[in-house]
């Protein structure tokens, strides 16, 4: 939830002002970090979960977010942009580190529930961040196009995570 709040606070002044707060190099960096975080958390799930549905979901997260990173890396290379570290990306990483620490204390069904709950919250936060912050901040059309094209995948991941959440709650 912290991520969502942080994105909301950051996006609000940016939409009110005319000048963008993030350069394309910074947008690209945030996009790669946001995808990498989900891959890292999926790897943690592969280590700690024994639930077949959760493991399959984690594998999809790894495959899909790696595909997005590859696409983003190819694009920035083509555009000659070097992704640049920034406050938004650092905040994301700090939050992810906290989440990873929390997940590492759990195992079995408690881990599955905590992981899936976090995936629901994380995808919700990332979807709004991409729509309300990263897309409006992108000046390059191709970068904006790439960000727009990943929203349906993020949406499908969210629905998948919500489906798992319901299944785990029924048990």
């Amino acid at each position: 939830m912290g991520i969502l709040l942080y994105f909301a606070l950051l996006a609000a002044p940016a939409t009110a002002q005319e000048s963008p707060k993030l350069s394309d190099a910074e947008v690209a960096s945030v996009a790669v970090i946001a995808n990498q975080i989900d891959i890292d958390q999926a790897r943690l799930a592969q280590e700690r979960s024994e639930n077949e549905a959760v493991l399959q979901f984690a594998q999809t997260m790894i495959n899909d977010h790696e595909a997005v990173i590859k696409q983003a890396t190819d694009l920035v290379q083509k555009l000659g942009v070097t992704p640049q570290e920034n406050a938004v990306g650092k905040q994301l990483q700090a939050n992810a580190a906290k989440t990873a620490k929390m997940l590492q204390t759990k195992s079995g069904a408690a881990f599955d529930k905590a992981y899936v709950d976090n995936e629901v919250a994380y995808h919700q936060a990332v979807i709004s961040a991409v729509k309300d912050l990263l897309i409006p901040e992108s000046e390059n059309e191709e970068l904006r196009g790439l960000l727009e094209s990943i929203v349906p995948a993020l949406q499908a991941h969210l629905e998948h995570a919500q489906m798992l959440q319901n299944q785990l709650n029924e048990k």
């Binding site: 399959q56 999809t60 495959n63 899909d64 595909a67 997005v68 696409q71 094209s149 990943i150 349906p152 995948a153 949406q155 499908a156 991941h157 629905e159 998948h160 489906m163």
Partner: protein, 110 residues
């Protein structure tokens, strides 16, 4: 002169065409393309004839598959970005993507 010369040719062509239509066998099997893009099968619902061919084409950057709902009848291999896969369809089926279970489609064989 000109008309006279062409007429027999036209007539025989017409006859040939009539012959073909009269003795035409069953309609030729059709090929239906199902595009996978933006995490959707497009079209998600399709009506076909038995023996028609389905071609799944993945236009997304992420991998997908098409798997018959029960998981026992048919399943495509993993379709990476740009891949396509074809199959002859003989029975109505509901299908989905095992990687993204919210992606669903349906083919009705009539």
């Amino acid at each position: 002169m000109k008309t006279l010369k062409l007429l027999p040719v036209d007539l025989s062509l017409l006859g040939l065409m009539l012959l073909c239509t009269t003795f035409a066998p069953l309609p030729k099997p059709k090929v239906h393309t199902i595009e996978i893009s933006q995490m959707q099968f497009k079209p998600a619902a399709l009506v076909v004839s038995a023996g028609d061919t389905l071609v799944f084409v993945n236009k997304d950057m992420v991998s997908h598959n098409a798997t018959e709902q029960s998981g026992t009848s048919w399943k495509s291999p993993t379709l990476a970005s740009g891949d396509s896969w074809r199959m002859a369809i003989t029975k109505s089926a509901a299908y989905y993507c095992t990687f993204h279970p919210t992606m669903k489609g349906e083919v009705k064989v009539e």
